[in-house]
Assembly symmetry: D2
């Protein structure tokens, strides 16, 4: 990917946006005197309660700071050093975490090529081998991203099928939900339905990309709850002392469904891009637009000029494919301005 | 340590305090639209400039999130997996980081017993052996805490002596400055004098304990600057996407010396505790009070009742030694109230 | 793979054979009184000299015990924890070492699907990305097996092409030569030609599969020579105290080209199997037979009865593909007896 | 330690000796045709049976290659990455394994200063803290060497006391028995009495220093038996394919108590040195001589001349303390020659 600098709101990534005003309010309200450090504070406790309301009482809650950190806590708590994690080749844990999962969680990654960023039973099955063989890393986790790095979304049934095959083999399912809110908004069903109720064992629920200053949370469900996650979080250097500021943001985000509203808005802006773009001659939207990402092939010569004014990444130089990501703060006017400029550049 | 719950401002730890109002302002001002992620934003750039003004142009700057994270970045960037780090037994990296330095930085720790939390040449020398011997981990770092975990402070000359012996052996000096501001306020000399100018190679400069919401920074000086720290930071899961909020806080903290004012105040409050406490019969202040920590032996029976009203830790159950830590927001009234209660409990 | 027990010499693996008598002689001759431990003995020194005669003066020599150990020493000495190793999906380091390379060498593996166990420029190129990007593990090594796990062999020109592209990107080439002797015997050129002279930077030269009791050696060439390999070997737990017994075996093996004679014999026995097998109706040899391995699809119903008498593995249950591996001690009579039994089982 | 080269049998280390002739016979007898690799061979099976006869039926047996390898298998199988191992500062795992335990077993080491290389309850107790506290590595193992690196030996009662306190805290006891045979010969009781029956959970039983070519074995007892050791052994790169040669040596060693005879002889030679040395004016034996090591302070000026003729290490340059280690092949004449030379050098 190439990054081009441009001013103003763009479509480079949802992590280039700032924080929603309610998040600043939450932080400010939490800034009241002394509180026990490391998460034993009222804000983290209330946010944990909200999360248990959402995902069920049998949920263990560990707040964290970064997406990579959350994934490492999740995987490192459930794996031993000879365990492997089956994931799409495009998974963030494989492609964008600089081998932190291997080094810090202490796992082997088994990447699987996919067409759309999603694992299927047929893709997973060939890798369910070597159990009990000391020469092979032991398959322990099936890891999926919801939404995926291509903006696609698993249905509850698709998650269930993967969870069933995992559990049949004594394995567990990890869901990297850096964009969980966008998936939930797309699916339009209660978040439990495609997570804990579909057999997910550990979920990384992201806040940063959906309007927080910074904040993620790792949720272990049912039998995957364990006593080692506190140590794994500390070793992963993710245990902030003033964790109340993360807890307070989650409390605010879960209040009245703000998290879903923000994600639904971002998704709508992505659809607006896709619908407009595919009407422009020479532009082809290349992947299903389900969450808040749009991939498209543009005439090669218009990419750079467009990036001069609007932030976004070239995803595949060879193909001329670009990626636009929308955010909680994307506005229809932002979308329309970019589409207009694209139309102009394409000419006709 | 035992923790007792009490309401209100206490002396449990400087990380139990909240954030200074200027930090919230800084965060709010940085919350303006989109910005490049991962530190390539104007706030981080300006804060880096401020840090280079303070420590010299030959300084590489890596913002981080937690103290353990900063230490891991520092050590992991300068060490190979067969390298060892000589530090006081009481060092945070040895005693309070759950083996994260061993696991994530990939080092061996060589702990040294000290009387006051400070290394000396005589303490270090016996461990400067085994160079070039494949059976021994290779001594690579002398690590010191400034201020130490006992609230004591190294003079510039003391740092210089350790740096000289380190450099003579091809080693480097790491300074864990989670409480660097308190040390600087105590010494009353420019911070360069006892860090980079005294031969320190890598410094973890803490913000969280001195009034930030969350924020640390790793500074590599001179020849210790390196090209691997970016990868180490990413692997350590410390690379936040919206890093601008950390940069903005450092910018605000360094503006007009706020960091030193806050630390000087905390130090003064510690002295106020110490001076008052040692006038109370049966109470003995056990360590030099130089930064913002006071250690004292109390009559064993008064500890629990006092903790019912004021947060603080019992440091050494066997000795009846307690630890009081002051913060940027400690007030003389807080101190006096605790001392009055202590006086009452002691009776007479 | 399924293993069936059978008595006598079989084709299960070259590591199921014993040691050549000259190896026992070498060990016995080395058993003479005291000698410095850890490789500073006359036998290791003479064997090192022989290896430098074979591979050139600019060769650093580290004796080791197991193939996995040798690979870990090679990779761990040349990589930092954020580095990645591109290799065929079928590579021993990816498929048969239980994540030891990830855990102990501290690397990320990037497996590449191949048709015949060999990397090509076209297969490698898409993975030469992300240099300098802190979010990506840094491509550092192209690792190839010579001969491959499929018994195929790289020509010197093929190795050269991979080495050139590696070096253009600041990377290095690792050759896993657990069956290097078989490749050398097949190619019929001096071993230097397709290793150090073709640009290989580090070579694991295996002895165990070619008639030693136990013994491997890691050879670093030219600029890849380094000062850290001794520590990496010790940490990998591969530094035996009585290393003289490994050195003595290498000395014996290199004397008068015994290593090549043994490998040439094993290769010939593999060809004898292949030639006979492909004449049997219903039997199809599936891969080029270049070294000492033969892969073939058999009528499914004859596999188990044949394994009752002759050791060999089923490679691919789904396909009915089996693997026969010949050894230094395989005899024409062994081959002919198995072929005769196979002929009988197939019927006609 | 300084090493001086000298010819002939010396007292540098028991790992500088060769192999007992019966070991070569065992290896030769095992060199008969093909056998299943990786320990599934008749020699390893018979040796395992012999070990279970010696240590009890509830013993899991894992053959290994090096002492460091065996220790890593033992510790890595019983620990998680946040666990710590309490051991004497002088323990081989702390001082002579180049941080392999930290890196490969993935532990934190807590070294304890001792007077004689032996842990005691009083030395251990202060470190039994931090259980359940996520900021602290979790105390998991008490590790002792039997015999110690100073040639001292724990009685069964001393082992029992340490095991009891370990088990009370949910911890386990690891015994590094690189010189277990020497301890057994000294104590004169069945080896079970001071190992499994005294509460030891995992034992590394060394063969190399007691007359093998190469060979160690890790024994897990009772509840410490586990299903992960096979993976840990493979990852530690200790799983040799032709493991039968190690099994055969153990079989030979355990036959008719050869291991005890060899160790008893070495111990007797150490006593002969000690008795002779302490009669020489100016020579002071500094530690209890219980196993096969003698430590003594010599007049500084005689050390180098004596090393010109007899291999041994200077242990403590500052003190002028040397270490003599005897072996299974040390002869009275060797001892007497060295003592005579020492007498001459000291003069009178």
């Amino acid at each position: 990917m190439n990054e081009k600098r441009a001013t103003g709101r763009g479509f480079g990534s949802d992590n280039q946006s700032g924080a929603h005003p309610r998040m600043l309010e939450a932080v400010t309200q939490a800034n009241s005197g002394h509180a026990a450090a490391y998460g034993a504070d009222p804000w983290c406790e209330r946010a944990s309660d909200s999360l248990r309301t959402l995902f069920g009482a049998h949920t263990d809650v560990y707040f964290a700071l970064t997406g990579t950190g959350a994934n490492v806590i999740a995987l490192g708590s459930l794996c031993r050093p000879w365990d492997s994690v089956i994931c799409p080749e495009t998974a963030h844990i494989n492609s964008d975490e600089c081998a932190a999962p291997e080094r810090v969680a202490g796992i082997k990654i088994v990447p699987v090529a996919t067409s759309d960023g999603k694992l299927t039973l047929d893709l997973v099955r060939p890798h369910l081998t070597g159990f009990g063989n000391e020469h092979h890393a032991q398959p322990r986790v099936i890891s999926i991203s919801q939404a995926t790095e291509y903006g696609t979304v698993y249905t509850a049934a698709e998650v269930r099928a993967l969870a069933d095959i995992a559990h049949e083999h004594g394995m567990v399912v990890h869901m990297d939900g850096a964009r969980l809110a966008n998936a939930a908004a797309f699916l339009g069903v209660p978040v439990r339905e495609f997570t804990v109720d579909a057999g997910v064992d550990v979920l990384c629920f992201g806040g940063t990309k959906n309007g927080m200053l910074m904040g993620e949370v790792v949720l272990f469900f049912g039998n995957a709850r364990n006593e080692v996650a506190p140590y794994m979080r500390k070793q992963a250097t993710q245990l902030a002392s003033k964790l109340r500021y993360v807890g307070a943001q989650f409390e605010g985000m879960l209040d009245h469904g703000l998290w879903l509203q923000l994600a639904a808005h971002a998704n709508a802006m992505a659809r607006r891009i896709a619908e407009g773009a595919q009407r422009i001659p020479g532009v082809r939207v290349t992947r299903a637009v389900q969450a808040n990402e749009v991939f498209a092939v543009l005439p090669r010569e218009v990419i750079a000029p467009l990036q001069d004014e609007f932030r976004f990444y070239t995803w595949d130089e060879a193909e001329g494919e670009v990626r636009w990501v929308t955010s909680w703060d994307s506005e229809p006017g932002d979308v329309d301005a970019m589409l207009a400029r694209l139309q102009t550049l394409v000419g006709v």
